[in-house]
């Protein structure tokens, strides 16, 4: 009885290419050429012919799925870095200057006191806090230590200087020691007015230093505009992880009148 050779009736996976193996038509292999791994199909019986060289397939092989160079550079030695592009290639590098740590509006229900807690750590050296509080009053700030305790004793010292428009006063200098607060904006703001408060901290989590911040506040109080710069600190070395803000009796903090963002930067 005559025998009819149909050849292979299906392709055969032969694994990673071996230079000493005799391959026949329809054998499939995996092979890494120039750091690029691809799969190949044998199109002519072949022994000792690498499937491709320099990206070009040998005559006895065809590409099935051609690999590409890994677009992500080696991660080794790049812990904590971010993947960046220059528009044409990728590399690992440092993150942008300031990293957002927290931010948003005030709470949906009005409160008397707001604790922006757990925002400072040893991860960053410098922190910036931007706040808006359009309340017809002034803001007081107190720190929260690294254990979560409110620093409420009279250990704060602060100073502020301001210039004013549309008022007889100023420039004014105010300051105090041994009090239980430092001012965010010392001069009053206005409901639905303009208010920008900026605090800058350095090493707030370092318990060997007195925690403090510079304060900038620009607010309008009806037709008057107040522009304030100053600083305040707690005069006992202690690490802080956050701070509290509050106003006077009857003042509220809510999503309608309060915005904030906390940024951190490494050195």
């Amino acid at each position: 009885m005559a025998t009819l050779d149909l050849g292979k009736i299906k392709q055969v996976w032969r694994g990673t290419y071996n230079n000493s193996t005799a391959y026949v038509v329809d054998d499939l292999v995996e092979y890494t050429d120039n750091n690029i791994t691809s799969s190949y199909i044998c199109v002519a019986n072949s022994t000792g012919n690498a499937p491709s060289t320099g990206g070009t397939a040998h005559a006895s092989w065809n590409f099935v799925a051609k690999g590409v160079v890994d677009p992500i550079p080696s991660q080794s030695g790049n812990a904590g870095k971010v993947l960046k592009t220059d528009g044409s290639s990728l590399s690992f590098g440092d993150a942008g200057g300031w990293v957002k740590i927290a931010g948003g509006n005030g709470p949906s229900s009005a409160v008397t006191e707001l604790a922006i807690d757990n925002v400072f750590s040893s991860t960053y050296k410098f922190y910036k806090v931007f706040m808006m509080w359009t309340q017809d009053d002034w803001m007081k700030i107190r720190f929260i230590d690294s254990s979560g305790n409110n620093l409420t004793a009279g250990n704060y010292r602060w100073v502020a200087v301001a210039t004013h428009e549309n008022t007889d006063g100023g420039p004014d200098r105010v300051g105090n020691s041994g009090v239980t607060w430092i001012p965010g904006n010392y001069w009053n703001a206005t409901d639905h007015g303009f208010c920008l408060i900026e605090l800058t901290f350095v090493d707030p989590a370092d318990s060997s230093k007195d925690p403090g911040c510079s304060t900038l506040a620009h607010v309008n109080e009806n037709t008057q505009l107040h522009s304030q710069h100053g600083a305040g600190y707690w005069y006992n070395g202690i690490g802080i992880r956050g701070f509290k803000v509050s106003g006077d009796t009857g003042d509220t903090i809510a999503d309608s009148n309060f915005r904030y963002v906390v940024l951190g930067a490494k050195i």
């Binding site: 709470p107 006191e113 604790a115």
Partner: protein, 72 residues
């Protein structure tokens, strides 16, 4: 009185101030109010003294420009 504390997911946890927190808040409010009132009183006294001083300089025969040049 209520306080809102920032949570890890960015939300606010709202709860009542503890009695200790309320006491601390009231102390801070009273302290701040007293400080501001003292500042206002001092500023008003300074303005009154300044006006009285300028009036006396004028009685001595100085012109307004001369007084302004001296004391602003």
């Amino acid at each position: 009185m209520k306080k809102a504390t920032l949570q890890a997911d960015g939300s606010w946890n709202i709860e009542d101030l503890t009695s200790e927190e309320e006491t601390a808040y009231n102390i801070t409010v009273a302290e701040g109010k007293a400080f501001k009132e003292a500042q206002v009183a001092a500023a008003e006294k300074k303005a009154t003294d300044s006006a009285a001083g300028k009036a006396k300089l004028k009685e001595l025969g100085l012109t307004d420009d001369q007084i302004a040049a001296l004391v602003g």
